[in-house]
């Protein structure tokens, strides 16, 4: 009996403590918010079809870009891969029956839903127009519902911390007998690094948002220079979280790629240890780079230089991973399926976005690009081109295991191509716009930018089609798709060694992981 068929009442789903079902709940919820955040983005792009007012007022535009950012960052990307796929696969990959604290896991889900509801409720109280960064002094005096938005994000922070604590403890305490850290699948390493960041960075955001909320509701003044305080301190607190937060988004994506590349190359990673340890290089250095968001905020040359160099170190650790993945594919027996196509898209877009990241970490260049579309394009290349493509790769890769059905390969390939083409068309023109001087978050623009803006909008719609397609065919396949075998990809990783879909406690018997997760030298038939 699989975890899906053991009990099918609504109550058994909403109050489940099974990590797999909680993962599925998260998957549905984050996908909903992805669609919502995406719709906001489409509306923004439509507004930019022409200079001046097109379809909405400037105030509506401000609210939409704020809500787009808030939704995508906290309602989609932070929980996306860790909470959905991490919840589902981390315990299976270490041979555990569940996470260490299953009830806290359920609590974490409902806290997330409550927080997200509060964020959306802010719409009823007039929306928010501060941008997702809530910078004071404007956030303190904005006539919009800043208090509700930051309260909602504060609540979601609890969910993030609980999930992080749960995953760290699960990894330490629940591994199958005899499994060392260096036997764990690479996705588990990525989740572990992510969890450390979640636990250490989120409380600092909590403090910054708490003070912002108090400021907005009760004129607290903790960032008001007229009352002896300093608005720059908000930026320091905010980015101390929000920069590591981009590694909360990208490390899980890297974990997904580290699983998919060996599986479809039928080859052991060229260096397991390099991929595993560089995760911690990124997680550690990621805490020392926040100042690069503040180069033009009155930072000394020495500080700016130090933050610039530290930021570039991230590129070194990332490059270690990228070279490893490509080297793993070299001379591999590659099967090109939809998940691997998304990984190809990931590699191209992540390297492209990463290189522009090194560029904006250069202080002299950043002065020119700061707060322009160049930065917008850069972080969308990393976050959408990186996290979103990995999310879609994970969705297709693990879909058979989660649902017991196969997705249609041709439609998968088609939508992967649309996502890649649409994405590139949306954001590549934005590099040119930014370099030409188009500031971010502006409602209006001079007529000479129109061609590039129209191209970007066209790309957004292609991307949207590529995103809607999988929703349709995956929902259809979940019920009517071809039955999936236990190990459709011929992977050696541990989650493929149990039934499809997995039973309630993940393995029918005590799992035996003597053959490692990447031992492609061992023929499939000899797997236990």
């Amino acid at each position: 009996v699989s975890y899906l068929s053991i009990d099918s009442t609504v109550r058994s789903w909403l109050l489940t403590t099974d990590h797999k079902r909680i993962g599925v709940l998260y998957l549905f919820t984050v996908s909903f918010f992805l669609a919502l955040g995406g719709s906001f983005a489409l509306a923004l792009r439509v507004e930019h079809l022409g200079p001046g007012p097109t379809v909405m007022t400037a105030m509506t535009y401000d609210r939409l870009f704020t809500l787009h950012g808030v939704t995508m960052v906290w309602l989609f990307m932070i929980p996306s891969i860790p909470a959905a796929f991490g919840n589902f696969f981390l315990p299976i990959m270490i041979g555990a029956k569940d996470v260490a604290f299953p009830r806290l896991n359920l609590l974490s889900y409902w806290i997330y839903v409550a927080g997200a509801t509060i964020v959306l409720a802010s719409l009823l109280f007039g929306g928010i127009d501060t941008g997702w960064t809530f910078y004071p002094p404007y956030a303190s005096t904005s006539p919009t519902a800043v208090f509700w938005a930051v309260l909602g994000i504060f609540v979601i922070g609890w969910s993030t911390i609980i999930t992080g604590v749960n995953f760290i403890v699960t990894t330490h305490a629940m591994r199958a007998r005899g499994m060392r850290f260096l036997d764990m699948p690479l996705f588990v390493w990525a989740m572990y690094g992510t969890s450390v960041i979640q636990v250490l960075a989120t409380p600092v955001l909590g403090l910054a948002l708490l003070l912002t909320g108090l400021d907005h509701a009760f004129a607290w003044g903790m960032f008001d220079p007229a009352r002896g305080a300093d608005p720059l301190l908000f930026q320091h607190l905010f980015w101390f979280y929000s920069h590591p937060a981009v590694y909360i988004m990208i490390l899980p994506a890297m974990g997904v790629v580290s699983e998919i590349v060996p599986t479809f190359s039928h080859k052991r990673p060229s260096s397991y240890k390099a991929i595993a340890y560089s995760t911690f290089g990124i997680a550690f250095v990621g805490f020392l780079t926040w100042g690069h968001h503040m180069f033009v905020a009155g930072m000394s040359v020495v500080d700016a230089g130090a933050f610039g160099i530290l930021s570039m170190l991230v590129a070194i650790f990332s490059a270690i991973k990228v070279f490893n993945w490509t080297w793993t594919m070299k001379r591999g027996a590659i099967t090109v399926k939809t998940p691997l196509l998304y990984v190809f898209a990931f590699l191209f877009l992540f390297v492209f976005g990463g290189m522009t990241g090194v560029a904006v970490a250069t202080t002299s260049l950043d002065v020119h690009w700061h707060d322009t579309y160049f930065v917008v394009a850069h972080f969308h290349f990393i976050m959408v081109g990186g996290t979103l493509t990995a999310f879609l790769a994970a969705l297709h890769y693990w879909f058979p295991k989660m649902t017991g059905r196969m997705y249609p390969e041709r439609l998968g390939v088609l939508s992967a191509a649309l996502v890649f083409a649409g994405f590139f068309l949306t954001f590549f023109p934005q590099f040119l716009l930014g370099n030409g001087g188009m500031p971010r978050r502006y409602y209006d623009y001079p007529a000479r930018f129109q061609t590039l803006h129209v191209l970007s909008t066209a790309g957004a719609f292609v991307l949207a089609i590529g995103m809607v397609l999988p929703v349709i065919y995956l929902v259809w396949s979940a019920f009517h798709g071809e039955r999936a075998p236990d190990n459709p990809w011929g992977s050696r990783s541990f989650e493929w060694r149990t039934q499809t879909p997995p039973p309630k406690h993940n393995f029918l018997a005590q799992p035996d992981f003597k053959v490692g997760a990447y031992e492609y030298e061992t023929p499939l038939e000899e797997l236990p």
Partner: protein, 208 residues
């Protein structure tokens, strides 16, 4: 009820998981207060005089009594852990209850302190007559931070009291006994952390 949950290999594994989970969470809490300490350091460097004045004005006596109250309370809960490990449940209930009462005393003194400052015209966010009488424009920064930091700490005291109260109930109902003493130990460790934060707040806002 004192058996391990089914997904654990045994009570020992569950115990080490709970302990690790608590310590990781304490690390998270430490970062929350680290943010406050960063604000304090930056603002104090910016306005050394105003912070000196602020500390001078703060209620040294009440703050120091509260330090004593918290330290003694921590001693009692530590002894409660020692007692429950030996299966002396009544003693453990007694000691933990003393800690809870001392926590409430701490909270009451804190409120007295706030009331005193409020009546002096010192509120958060430069509210009150004090700030119109005193010329130094940076004084509100000290007092707003004082209310923020001690207020956030007081919230932690209340949470700690609630946790300890639940654990007392657990001992009475037999859910926490010598085999599951780690549960009380986790609650006590949290209480020690709340205590520890105060050990830092005390010199920053009352002494130096």
């Amino acid at each position: 009820m004192n058996e391990a949950h089914e997904h654990f290999a045994g009570l020992e594994e569950q115990e080490s998981a709970a302990r690790l989970g608590l310590w990781v969470f304490l690390g998270s809490e430490a970062l929350l207060f680290a943010g406050l300490f960063m604000l304090y350091a930056a603002l104090r460097v910016e306005h050394p005089h105003a912070f000196h004045e602020g500390v001078h004005h703060a209620t040294k006596t009440l703050g120091s009594i509260n330090t004593g109250v918290l330290l003694v309370s921590s001693g009692f809960v530590a002894y409660a852990v020692h007692a429950i490990r030996q299966g002396r449940r009544a003693l453990a209930v007694g000691c933990t209850s003393v800690t809870i009462v001392l926590g409430l005393v701490f909270f009451a003194i804190k409120i007295t302190e706030y009331a005193k400052h409020w009546s002096e015209g010192i509120g958060p966010g430069a509210r009150g007559a004090f700030f119109t009488e005193h010329a130094d424009k940076a004084l509100p920064a000290f007092w707003t931070l004082y209310y923020t930091a001690t207020g956030l700490h007081a919230v932690h005291v209340l949470v700690g009291i609630t946790v300890l109260a639940i654990l007392v109930l657990g001992i009475v109902r037999g859910k926490v006994d010598e085999r599951t003493a780690y549960r009380l130990e986790c609650g006590a460790t949290y209480w020690h952390l709340v205590d520890l934060f105060w050990i830092f707040l005390w010199p920053l806002f009352y002494l130096a």
